[in-house]
Amino acid sequence: MTVLVALPVLLPLAAAGLTLALGAYADVQRLLGLLVLGAIIADAAALLYLADTSGPVVLQMGAWPAPFGITLIADRLSALLLLVSSVVTFAVLIYSIGQRITDYGREASSTTFHPMYLMLCAGVSLAYLTGDLFNLFVAFEIMLSSSYVLITRRTKAERVRASMTYTIVSLASSLLFITMIALVYASTGTVNLADLGQKVHELPDGLQTALALLVVIVFGVKAAMVPLHFWLPDSYPTAPAPVTAVFAGLLTKVGIYALIRTQTLVFSHASSWKLMLGIALITMIVGALGALAQNDLNRLLSFLLVSHIGYMLFGLGVYDVLGLTGVILYVVHHITVQATLFLVSGIITRHTGTVALTRMGGLAKAAPLIGVLFALPALSLAGVPPFSGFVAKLALLQAGVNAGTIAAYAVTATAVLTSLLSLYAMARVWTRAFWGQVKAPAPDPDPTDELIVGTASSSRPMLMATGVLVATSVVIAVLAGPLAGISGRAASDLMHADTYRSAVLGGDRHG
Amino acid sequence: MAKRLTRGKRLLRRVPLMIWLTLVWVLLWGTFDLGTLLFGLVVAALVSLLFPLPPIRTGMVVRPLPLLRLIGYLGWDLVVSTMRVTWQALRFGPNATAGIVGARLRIDSDHLTALVASAISLAPGQFVLQIDRANRICYVYALCLDGEESVRREVARLEHFVVSAVGSAAERELVREAG
């Protein structure tokens, strides 16, 4: 069964290779993508079941024992995130297939989109599953490089700049990542995360803290924590909807995942997480205020994304089982909902021919279905009960209150305020875009521009995929009980890293 | 019948390259056994099959003794002219002068022209700056030249050495006649 851990990486990689090689056959590309991503969902579900019932599923690649070879490990946390992520990637693939067929016809194959999308999925899976710091770097690079390609695809003049910002900032943080790895290896002589967890503790406290903080910065850039977030609202909005959806849903979360993993497994003694509460507070506020200042729907959503990263940092800053439970729940919820919102934004943009809220209007009347598709995730994002966002937020608030420190109280209060501001932002979108008079769609200045295909219809697969994600977020809310159970167990695994460590390293390390 | 012959000939023309590539293979490994040799042949065949080059009849004939003489001359020339250039660098430095002299070759084939040009360029002090292939002229850049004629003499001597080392019989005749 352990091979199940490798498949979410190897299958999409192989499929990416095949879609590249079979670049001329559009149907084969589509089918391959759907099959592989569907298989990953099943695989992830099985992994989650196994990890929850019988402990982490560990695979030593090449049968080389840890900490020598590369270990892949699916514990509750990674399996859970993998499952949610794969549902999102699957739905988004359906969406983009629908969109591509609508815009370019059934015959249009792509040597770029399908392979890169699969690569992105492979990178995300690997980031979740790897138990090796350097391999995590490789995972990030697979993920990020394919994201560079996806964000620069069919770039228009006005958007080249945005993709540059994205690419360069990501590259800079990748270089810091290598630097960090070098420092880690120089001081410990290992890159296996479980092994590092033991060896880092032997370093002097100051070095542990410095290293942990460097790690926070490296992953903080990817996670878009303030003040390392600037690139996100400048770049995400410029990509086509499905791309932004996947970026917003997954990439920042992978950063958060890496933060959680390293802070709990490797730097549990470094107390760098104490800083996290302050960062969380600033992140929430700056993001939410940013959202209120926007007129571009996608930018508004991007700022909200930043703001809600603050929630995840909040839970990590509380740093106890309840806090981490909250983070995990929040990540699970946010992956789904943020992706959904960007997909809906894509549908809205196609419907109205603009991203500017002031030029929209009357959508609720003209397209009530879009209204429903928008309203549910919007409410969920704002943390309105009974949707998924509320469940996650509740757990975080409880954690904050339980922590009982002044800082925790402050952040808890800020979280509540942010919730209000998020709702305000969403309500403004609603009042501007969905209420009021129906406005004539904006003329399409460039019919080849994928971002705004003026008044193109949204095909059934696109709506269906969005609907599936909306339903997923509802299911997350309904299944909050079992989900919170798993998250709670995952969180206590994180707090007591022994499970992870012994699963990777085993009793007899040289066996 | 004729076709098969040309095909055979075409294969035959690949033989020198195959030998060269196998030699490279063996030299790289540094082990002279049957396995390496056979494998080298396979690799050489693979490379020349996958990436075919246009078959060109050069009519080159390798004559060991003149070839050795050519190599010896070039080696000696390399040493001597290195010293000369070094001297010039130290003696004249920024005030060094030069000239560009056109030298017409007697031979009229791409490969020999290239060989001669390479031979000229190998030695310090002068190199071929421009070839006028149609008119068989090599424009030679020479540092601190003693006169145009000495350059042309040098070119002619090298041409002679090269042709006698690897030129076809006809070309040898050509050089000998003119010389």
Binding site: - | L28, V85, L143
Partner: protein, 116 residues
């Protein structure tokens, strides 16, 4: 063995000196084509000498690879010289006042004149 060592020492130091003189030439000569002389030729000689000097020190099976290095150097140096020289001439990077005679330039002028 001493003979070999001495031979090797001569080759190595000679080669290194040749490289050094080439570098000096590269520094002192007035223009790019002249520097090219200093650059390509003494370096080639120097490299060849060092290759030989090293080869003598190594056992035979390892030394064979060095032959290839030498061959490559001999094969590529003239081509590079010609390409750079030609580029220098084309881009007018040659200091014309250092040229005592320029038959190429004369001919180009003539051709231009003839063609109108």
């Amino acid at each position: 063995m001493i003979v070999l060592d001495v031979f090797s020492a001569i080759c190595l130091i000679g080669g290194a000196l040749s490289c050094l003189f080439g570098a000096i030439g590269l520094l002192t000569f007035p223009d790019v084509t002249a520097r090219l002389q200093a650059a390509t030729k003494p370096q080639t000689l120097g490299l060849l000498l060092i290759l030989v000097g090293t080869a003598v020190q190594l056992n035979f099976s390892l030394a064979t690879g060095l032959i290839l290095v030498g061959l490559f150097q001999m094969l590529t140096a003239p081509v590079l010289a010609q390409l750079i020289g030609r580029a220098a001439y084309r881009t007018d990077s040659i200091k014309r006042d250092t040229l005592i005679i320029d038959e190429l330039g004369e001919r180009i002028e003539a051709e231009r004149h003839r063609s109108g």
